[in-house]
Symmetry: C2
Amino acid sequence: MTQRQTLQAALIQQRCTGNPADNLARATAAVEQAATDGARLVVLQELFNTTYFCQTENPACFELAEPVPGPATTALGRLAARLGVVIVAPLFERRAPGLYHNSAAVLDSDGRLAGIYRKMHIPDDPGYYEKFYFTPGDGIWRPIRTRVGHLGVLICWDQWFPEAARLMTLAGADILLYPTAIGWDPGEAPAERTRQQEAWLTVQRAHAIANSLPLLCCNRTGFEPVPGGNVESGIEFWGSSFACGPQGEMLAQAPAGDEAVLMVTLDLGRTEEVRRSWPFLRDRRIDSYGELTARWRD
Amino acid sequence: MTQRQTLQAALIQQRCTGNPADNLARATAAVEQAATDGARLVVLQELFNTTYFCQTENPACFELAEPVPGPATTALGRLAARLGVVIVAPLFERRAPGLYHNSAAVLDSDGRLAGIYRKMHIPDDPGYYEKFYFTPGDGIWRPIRTRVGHLGVLICWDQWFPEAARLMTLAGADILLYPTAIGWDPGEAPAERTRQQEAWLTVQRAHAIANSLPLLCCNRTGFEPVPGGNVESGIEFWGSSFACGPQGEMLAQAPAGDEAVLMVTLDLGRTEEVRRSWPFLRDRRIDSYGELTARWRD
């Protein structure tokens, strides 16, 4: 018989200020609320304790990076142990002098650092100058083992790449998790806004479907102006954090423009049930996938 | 400047009867209508000239297979040349004595057989006993070159595998095409029906998004009883053929329960435009994808 195992999770969708200590304090309060409400897994958004500083290329922003373990993860480790929750904490990591990553530290419910994921796919387009700041991850697509399961932690831009979700799945992920920081250019036409947000939602739901896994996506909210830009220019982060099940079915979704502690109950036993009906893993044509490592099949 | 190139396409969504000649005649009439309405590319559904005989395992059904080139593709080649349209014709192929495929022949607009795709991922679950009938394809994920573009033809179960869409993309597909035959078990609960159909739609839209390609999906409609079963058992094919653009945006959709000649205009220039905004192909981590050829990453 399929094992029935449910997991209460919470997604912390927040606005960020220019004060990391303030962002950490408000995240801490939200984690406490989530734990009180029964969450055993709490997911923070990408770069949770800073603004999205990648809107410009400014060498001074490297000062925002911190080591792991370091002040934020030590504080969150204590919080995790006190509350008995697993915390996914994405932040700007200083790995070595001059070597920085867009990372997610995972604190297990005993406070221990369970593992770290370093963002593998790094975007770079106007307003999202990430290639300046973040060295691409050198990990091997392994889920992070915690007391609530094997967490397939990925970050933002990774969400557009089916390869990432598949590799986490094949390594035994129980859940796919995407902390993100995505939003609209205020000058964007309404139809384009809709297409972008729908695409973002759809591609992630599809990873859940193709891999028969539940998925949690925690996105930033609020408007952040371009440092030194005019008052209208910046990013309007679209929030809309969500959870879906292994058939891509929506389980919960936060609003676009407000902060939220989004609670959801995941039925981890559904994965094997769904895979028995739709056995995609059985039928993958691994004999024919070799050229997925090609840049282009000329 | 991005090349603007539009293409009128038509999806022929039909009910099938036990009479292949009747199915071919009705498909022919629908192709004629589509051409009259301006289509230059016409897509038929999976196994277009037979019922979905895979509801049981019956050796007599191998008699339904025909060679390519053979009677149906010869007739459709003449039709393609007469109307000046490209036709995607999925059918049960007899490749050699005892060697059968679930294939799609593509007839170019001069009537020539442009190429053939043989379904790579073969399902097998109650009511869809395809592994009995169909030898898995031995192709190499190459789009078929035609006068209207490079067609990334895949078939039904392939639609659940992001690997297939990606490999067609990397080999230069201009459009992803999915002839399908999927439906509900009449005994299925309404909530499960919704989840299944939504998953089917979502996963395909996501292939369009992840690869920045337009996508055409042509599905069968109508109820087909299980041969020799009681009157209620069978498959209620859910139609709902659709077209979406390179951001997964829906362009057109047919009803669930009726036949349709679904017309859509594709803007092939949008692919490069979208890829410039969301350059996924630039950022794929091909150095790290090697284990996509693993069955499981133990």
